[in-house]
């Protein structure tokens, strides 16, 4: 504050605001606090419109599933369907072991990673839904498993980290 100091410059005096300098410095962008992960409201949808729908694409191939998710997102943009979110689910790793022909040892065959991408849309009209499904099906690449279902709270909770301590305490309290 330039007005406070031993030499108080009055507003009528010519020396008013003599010590000001902050207006000369470049503008600082205010630091963004970490936004809390909160669940958005799930709309139920009216009789002629569906609520929140999740288009989940699963595959072993990362590039394919990523490109297909991008394609679906752009398609929805082009057809002016509102896309709430487009996120990735955590990858699952599976170790495949098979029994050797001679012997009882399990032999390591491969390590497979399953990737999943989700595109969440809202407000799909009931007449347009089968057309959209046809388009997505005709563009489906090989090995990509498609699943369309309604968005629920359980789906959102599966993205969050598990808190065993909290659950333990809650079990103890009740």
């Amino acid at each position: 504050d330039a007005l406070l100091g031993c030499q108080r410059s009055y507003r009528s005096r010519p020396t008013h605001g003599i010590g000001r300098f902050k207006y000369l410095l470049p503008k600082e962008v205010p630091k963004r606090r970490k936004e809390k992960v909160q669940m958005k409201e799930i709309s139920a949808g009216t009789e002629y419109q569906y609520g929140d729908l999740n288009i989940q694409m699963t595959s072993y191939d990362l590039c394919l599933v990523e490109h297909f998710a991008q394609h679906v997102h752009r398609l929805c943009n082009r057809l002016s369907i509102r896309v709430n979110e487009s996120y990735a689910m955590p990858t699952k790793t599976n170790e495949v072991l098979f029994l050797e022909e001679r012997g009882s040892k399990m032999q390591l065959d491969a390590v497979l990673t399953t990737h999943q991408r989700v595109v969440q849309i809202r407000g799909l009209s009931s007449t347009f839904a089968p057309i959209l499904l046809e388009i997505i099906q005709s563009n489906q690449p090989e090995g990509v498993h498609l699943l369309i279902k309604e968005h629920t709270e359980a789906d959102f909770k599966s993205r969050l980290k598990s808190r065993p301590e909290l659950e333990e305490l809650l079990a103890e309290m009740s």
């Binding site: 809390k36 992960v37 909160q38 949808g45 009789e47 002629y48 419109q49 569906y50 729908l53 595959s59 990362l62 057809l79 990735a88 689910m89 955590p90 990858t91 699952k92 790793t93 599976n94 170790e95 495949v96 072991l97 098979f98 029994l99 022909e101 399990m106 065959d109 390590v111 990737h115 009931s126 007449t127 347009f128 839904a129 089968p130 057309i131 499904l133 046809e134 388009i135 099906q137 489906q140 090989e142 090995g143 990509v144 498993h145 498609l146 699943l147 369309i148 279902k149 309604e150 993205r159 969050l160 980290k161 598990s162 808190r163 301590e165 909290l166 305490l169 809650l170 103890e172 309290m173």
Partner: protein, 157 residues
């Protein structure tokens, strides 16, 4: 003389229980204050081995004929893709138009059926479909016995 001792025991027990309950409540409050975090996705984190090494691939120099051929090929491919995209958009528009026409005719025919057709289909979701495969599964194939273990890393907060 027998009265004093049992009373002390009860007081101490009750106090201890209350203190324990308060401590648990405080712990709960602290844990609940912390917001839940999303599980980090391993796809988006590039493993370190791809950033450490300094090997760079040196590409061979292209002759002008080769680069000319490539540019012309690229242009042909762009044209082909554009035609494909336009055909797709036309097909979508045709689908939508024919659907609208059919609904109009239905409305003229009977109002009840039109209303029933406009409603949303509850049996449509959940919808599942496997992608087409390069090679269909062989009939009568006997796979070797084995098992799948899930080794996904479990994150806890």
């Amino acid at each position: 003389p027998c009265r004093a001792q049992p009373k002390k025991k009860k007081k101490v027990d009750v106090k201890k229980e209350q203190a324990q309950k308060e401590r648990m409540k405080k712990k709960l409050k602290k844990l609940e204050k912390a917001a839940p975090e999303l599980i980090p996705i391993e796809d988006f984190i590039t493993p370190l081995k791809y950033t450490e090494s300094n090997r760079v691939r040196s590409l061979p120099a292209l002759s002008p004929e080769e680069s000319e051929r490539r540019v012309l090929l690229l242009k042909k491919w762009c044209l082909f893709k554009q035609k494909q995209d336009k055909a797709e958009k036309k097909a979508i528009q045709a689908l939508v138009d024919s659907q609208q026409e059919a609904l109009k005719e239905l409305q003229l025919e009977s109002e009840e059926l039109y209303q029933a057709a406009i409603r949303r289909d509850e049996g449509l979701f959940p919808f599942e479909r496997d992608g087409p495969s390069y090679t269909p599964p062989l009939p009568g194939y006997d796979p070797p016995e084995g098992k799948c273990i899930d080794i996904t890393k479990v994150y806890t907060q």
